[in-house]
Symmetry: C2
Subunit: 341 residues, 2 copies
Amino acid sequence: MAKIDDVARLAGVSKGTVSNVFSQKRPTSPKVTERVLRISRELNYVPNHTARSLVTKKTMAIGLTVPHGNFFFSTFHNQFINGVVLEASTYGYRVLLDMIAVEEVKTPSLASYPIDGAIVLGPMLEDRRIQLLHQHQIPFVTVGQMMNQGIVDASTVNNDNEKIIHDICDYLISMGHRNMMFLNAGQQMTVSMVRSEAFIHALEKHQIGLQPHMIHYKPMVDYEESMRYGYEETYHTLSELSEQVTAIIADDDRTAFSAMHALKDLGYRVPEDISLFVICGDLSMMHQVTPSLTGMDLQPSELGVQAVRLLMHKLSVLEGEYRNHWIVDSRIIERDSCSLK
Amino acid sequence: MAKIDDVARLAGVSKGTVSNVFSQKRPTSPKVTERVLRISRELNYVPNHTARSLVTKKTMAIGLTVPHGNFFFSTFHNQFINGVVLEASTYGYRVLLDMIAVEEVKTPSLASYPIDGAIVLGPMLEDRRIQLLHQHQIPFVTVGQMMNQGIVDASTVNNDNEKIIHDICDYLISMGHRNMMFLNAGQQMTVSMVRSEAFIHALEKHQIGLQPHMIHYKPMVDYEESMRYGYEETYHTLSELSEQVTAIIADDDRTAFSAMHALKDLGYRVPEDISLFVICGDLSMMHQVTPSLTGMDLQPSELGVQAVRLLMHKLSVLEGEYRNHWIVDSRIIERDSCSLK
DNA sequence: CTGAAAGCGCTTACAG
DNA sequence: CTGAAAGCGCTTACAG
């Protein structure tokens, strides 16, 4: 590959001038610009990204780390990632995908992270990723519930999870449901704790006593098993219970699908016998199944966009004031899976 | 951040030695190793990835480019990406996600790609991404149908699309179906061309005449519209047709869901009135809906794994013989959405 | 608007 | 097993 010296020599200018033509950080005369560009084209020259990074100290990449474990994207993640990648490209940034946890610095061969900043999706308690980012002094923003873990000033973009749960409970309770089952996310997700608490508060607000069968947590397992979560919990809980659960709140669309499957096997109809509400699912897909699923629009793509904007502010790519915590709106999309008790 | 000179000075050794401790390319005495490591820990030192890359000429990252446009991942893409990221991490490689097309070199500020190789998902006719990769001399492997476009020796990982379509047609025809509708992928996808041809051949093989309503192509549009594709084509085709279509082959699970929706609105039952076969869908999700969907297991995760392995061979990270074209197996998973005519 | 020179933080022959 | 020095391919004050 041609390098800057080759272009400079053939164009009869200095390296600095060639650099300026490409970076546009200082003006160059039209004549020189055109000559340099022509030679560059002939030589198939393009500035070496790595060399540039070394001196500018910018990699023009941000890291996107998702929880470790045998993890698979949900449609929620899809749209979130879409928002991130598209918005990042607006500022000339690329996205480095890290699905497994940022590894321990166990092997000495580990080098620094070639990223200018990071977005941490679904922060967890004792999150190794956050500890390392902090230690390496890489600016980051978390998306999802952030608990205080000593890193006081963490920037975060999130939905208002308390409001979400209260809205859902108010909605279902207003329809006459008092025995609801909540298929929550995994216990290691900080979001699930906030949601459980809000769920309990919402019940109290309406003078409904909490019962053991009302809250379930997704086991932290592999893909296949997590697909069965909705089925297993629904099937076993409902078949062993004497009282009648009349509404189920499912953490995501997959959980909802598998819960529906269990309901069918148990002989229950949705929504005639049992209502089903999805917190975090793909709205289009939820619209296509039968019955179409009522749920909450969390705007995952918007979460991604706002996370990138916040990070760009922290990196001083974006000027002006900004808030360290950003809440993305959510609202109920009524469809056919919930009805009066 | 501390740099190699700081560590070298405090540890009383040369930079070269510090380098060796971290890269492990040359042995260092236990005493020195331990001292360097201790100092490094104290200073929070870690080798600068960019500086290392500049001299080794390796970024230890591969690019993953998906088709441009207003694109959203399907569950197929999810699992594929999973395979790629996990397998790449095995070799110490990270994955740079490019969702929009590798841009034209229109603005001169564009720098080289900081990747050692690339995986191109869903190659298209006149694929700009491939042209650029080729021009920048970045090794790449394509996943999905590759048509000859002057780049003769492109490495590729793929399913056997001809076999897939023949297997599906043989399966449905053996059940008595002769009037089948194929909701194919978008016309710009090379895979859809191969599948259409195979579909036509399969019909010929069984002496079934091709009719205009039998093949449809997903319009290249935004997310919302593509979700409607299955619905629209199914609804309009079936309501305007005098003869009876008895089986539908859907390109992916979303198309299948929305086709099912249309069938329900038209008063058809699956599979009693019309059978439904899904080519490329999330098997677990297809198992959870009612009726559970019969489809083809394309092993998307395995496609990702093999694509990375092939690329690692091309980058000489992996030693030994390898084939430039790799076919990943597929097989029919029988569930409840197809039945005898 | 342009050039000459230093420097970004590493690795790598070369020499011992 | 270790060190001294050159060099990876750019950008950036500094000077004009």
